[in-house]
């Protein structure tokens, strides 16, 4: 069965929304990172979809960029997370509230 690009975009949107919800709701920092990855991949999906519909390769190249950046970001992010864990023995996002005014 053929599905149009609309379906892909819908999936992309749904994935993005789930990712956003996860970032806002979950307390575990690792889960938050996973949701961020989810958002990034949702965006990748929509890039590929548009590349296909436009018949150009720009979207695919951008998808590659996004994947590289996401990888680098994960490295850095997990590094920060580990050092916070070493200090506080907690990875709950709610516990980094030193900026509370």
């Amino acid at each position: 069965m053929r599905v149009g690009p609309g379906a892909y975009l819908l999936v992309s949107a749904v994935l993005f929304a789930i990712g956003v919800a996860g970032v806002l709701i979950r307390r575990n920092a690792i889960v938050v990172f996973m949701c961020v990855e989810l958002m990034l991949n949702a965006v990748n999906l929509s890039f590929i979809t548009f590349a296909k519909t436009n018949g150009a390769l720009d979207g695919q190249v951008l998808a590659f960029f996004v994947m590289v950046v996401a990888a680098a970001e994960v490295v850095v992010g997990l590094g920060i997370l580990v050092s916070i864990f070493r200090k506080r023995s907690s990875i709950s996002v709610d516990d980094v509230n030193l900026l509370k005014g």
Binding site: V23, V96, N97, K100, G101
Partner: protein
């Protein structure tokens, strides 16, 4: 010599400077330096006076142009001095009586540790008074006016660190009466004097503004030349404002209340400033600006009514006083009222009012100095209940006081007789309000005789009432000599100045170039009957006093029995209390209202409220900073949504 009249204020000013700069080292000489300065001024005045006499009548106004003080737009004010019969009379009285009082003060203040300051201020006062009297324009006169006010304040408050006791009128003789001895401090009295004067000064200032606005100049010759052309309303306003200043300086109703309190100052001060000179400045002002007053019948009536009313009021209060200085103070207020009656009603009375000014200066100064002599001999006690029978101990003081007593009640041929009678005759002849003033004046003369006779009887005659351990004795010659000189002057001045050489007498003729000639006098027999009535009323007053106080009569018992009627008199008819209510009490209430309600609640509330507003705004804003990462993430999401929406739905 007229070119040298600038020496008149400068000599006492030099005395002031010497005593200020070198006084502490020359303390013993301070009094002599001051006296010398004033006596020298007197000599200058006498010389200039004789020179004036040698000139024909029309030329008897000499103007000495001085330093140009203010030149600003249309306003030109210079330190010009004016020497004419009026200023000559005033200058002679001021310097002459001052010299005698300075001499007296050397003895009276001989042991005071600050006497060099006293003499410095006394000299400054004389200098200011002379500036006032010799001024040729309103502003320079005002300088002198303020100067005498300042010196009055300084001298009244001279003993600012001493406590003077005044016993209540019923003493402790009435069972169950609370002992309300009250202490009279000098500083409140000095402040009261200055404040009352200040209210008058506002009148003077406003008058000057009005004069300059309508006439364009403050010079006397300019103003008086145009005065008759002023609109009646303007003239009235100016005259009334000037008279307000007079009520302050010359202690008339409503601003007389400072004078009795001013008795807290040393007695020479009371004699000089509050009897002979400063308080006469108001009378002088009216005489000097008489052209303005003549342009306004309303103002003249006001002056006459206030003068007569004050004379009567003060005489009534004087009857109830036991403090000898207060009796004399109220007497001064009363006699000043007479002077104002004299100058209120036009040319007919100017000379009379001024003659009374002169004779009053002599006998009132003598009375005050005599009172000082009595106080000196009685440990500074002023309560008449503690005197009695001092005649034997202080014969000179007694005799001189007796002379002044005769003068003030108007014994025929004494100074006061001439001046008072002339004032009353002038008032009667003027008609209208003058008749009313005459009636009040005669009544007051009776009361004057009563309280002055009371004063003499209770102080010098009768039995001794002074406490054990006191040895009253006559004062030293330095003090008794001025007493004698003043008594002689009080006796002969009236006669000497009015011996008839032409209509109205010498004094009147002398002043005519300045004050104008009155219309024809009434008949001589009419004048005789008026005199007779006044003298009889005065005699009745004296006899009344003798009945009560001159014989062995228990007047204290009488007073106790009628304490209800006596109290208001002794308490000065509660005028001070009324003023205190309207000024102090209401003022405090207003201040409290402004301080608490307006300032604390209103203004502070607004300012603090503003700060509170900012604070609560900040508190609300602070809640954004939860420190919660997830809220920040939500914020980021929200922002992103907004931007996308904007981009998508851009108009």
């Amino acid at each position: 010599m007229t070119r040298l009249i600038w020496l008149l204020p400068v000599l006492p000013l030099a005395g002031f400077a010497v005593n200020v700069l070198l006084g502490q080292r020359l303390r013993a000489l301070a009094g002599w330096i001051a006296t010398l300065a004033v006596a020298a001024a007197f000599a200058v005045a006498v010389a200039a006076f004789f020179e004036l006499l040698s000139l024909p009548g029309e030329q008897r106004t000499q103007i000495l142009r001085g330093y140009d003080w203010i030149t600003s737009g249309d306003l030109r004010v210079a330190f010009d001095l004016r020497w004419d019969p009026l200023s000559a009379v005033m200058a002679l009285v001021v310097t002459g009586v001052s010299s005698l009082i300075h001499l007296y003060s050397i003895g009276y203040m001989g042991h005071d540790e600050r006497r060099e300051t006293f003499f410095a201020w006394l000299n400054l006062f004389v200098a200011s008074m002379l500036v006032l009297v010799l001024a040729q324009n309103f502003l320079v006169m005002f300088v002198g006016w303020e100067g005498v006010g300042l010196c009055s304040y300084l001298l009244i408050g001279f003993w600012f660190n001493r406590r003077l006791l005044v016993v209540n009128p019923l003493g402790r003789l009435v069972e169950g009466e609370p002992d309300d001895t009250h202490e009279v401090w000098a500083p409140p009295a000095a402040k009261k004097a200055f404040l009352a004067n200040r209210i008058g000064d506002v009148g003077f200032l406003l008058a000057m503004f009005l004069i300059f606005a309508t006439v364009g100049s403050l010079d006397f010759d300019d103003v008086f030349g145009k005065a008759s052309g002023l609109a009646a309303g303007t003239a009235t306003a100016i005259a009334l404002l000037l008279f307000l200043a007079c009520t302050g300086k010359s202690a008339q109703f409503p601003l007389y209340v400072w004078l009795p309190d001013a008795m807290a100052g040393p007695t020479p001060v009371s004699a000089l400033i509050h009897a002979a000179t400063m308080v006469t400045a108001g009378v002088f002002l009216v005489a000097r600006t008489h052209v303005i007053f003549e342009a306004s019948g309303t103002a003249q009536t006001v002056v006459a009514v206030v003068g007569a009313g004050t004379a009567l009021l003060a005489a009534v209060i004087a009857i109830g006083q036991d403090d000898i200085k207060k009796i004399l103070a109220y007497s001064t207020v009363s006699q000043l009222g007479y002077m104002f009656i004299g100058v209120a009603l036009g040319p007919i009375g100017y000379a009379a009012g001024l003659l009374h000014l002169v004779t009053h200066a002599f006998f009132k100064a003598q009375l005050f100095l005599g009172a000082g002599s009595v106080m000196h001999a009685n440990d500074e006690d002023t309560d008449i209940k503690h005197f009695g029978g001092l005649r034997a101990a202080m014969p000179i003081t007694f005799l001189t006081t007796l002379v002044s007593w005769a003068a003030i009640i108007g014994v025929p041929l004494t100074g006061g007789f001439y001046s008072k009678d002339q004032v009353l005759a002038a008032a009667f002849e003027h008609g209208g309000i003058g008749r009313l003033a005459w009636v009040v004046g005669v009544l007051t003369a009776g009361l004057t005789a009563f309280y002055m006779s009371r004063y003499v009887f209770l102080t010098f005659l009768g039995e001794r009432r002074w406490p054990e351990g006191r040895h009253p004795h006559e004062s030293p010659p330095l003090m008794t000599l001025p007493l004698i000189v003043l008594a002689v002057l009080a006796l002969v001045a009236g006669f000497a100045l009015t011996t008839f050489t032409g209509e109205g007498g010498r004094f009147q003729n002398f002043l005519e170039p300045v004050l104008g000639a009155p219309e024809a006098h009434g008949s001589l027999t009419g004048a005789f009957w008026l005199s007779a009535v006044a003298t009889l009323v005065a005699a009745a007053g004296a006899v009344g006093a003798w009945l009560l106080y001159g014989r062995r009569f228990d007047w204290l018992a009488l007073r106790r029995r009628y304490a209800g009627a006596w109290r208001p008199l002794a308490d000065r008819l509660y005028v001070d209390q009324v003023y205190e209510f309207f000024t102090v009490t209401l003022g405090r209430a207003l201040a409290a209202f402004l301080a608490r309600t307006v300032d604390q609640r209103g203004i502070d509330g607004a300012v603090n409220g503003l700060a509170e507003l900012v604070g609560s705004g900040a508190r609300s804003g602070r809640r954004l900073q939860s420190g919660l990462v997830r809220s920040y993430a939500l914020g980021v999401l929200g922002g992103a949504v907004l931007i996308v929406a904007f981009l998508v739905f851009r108009p």
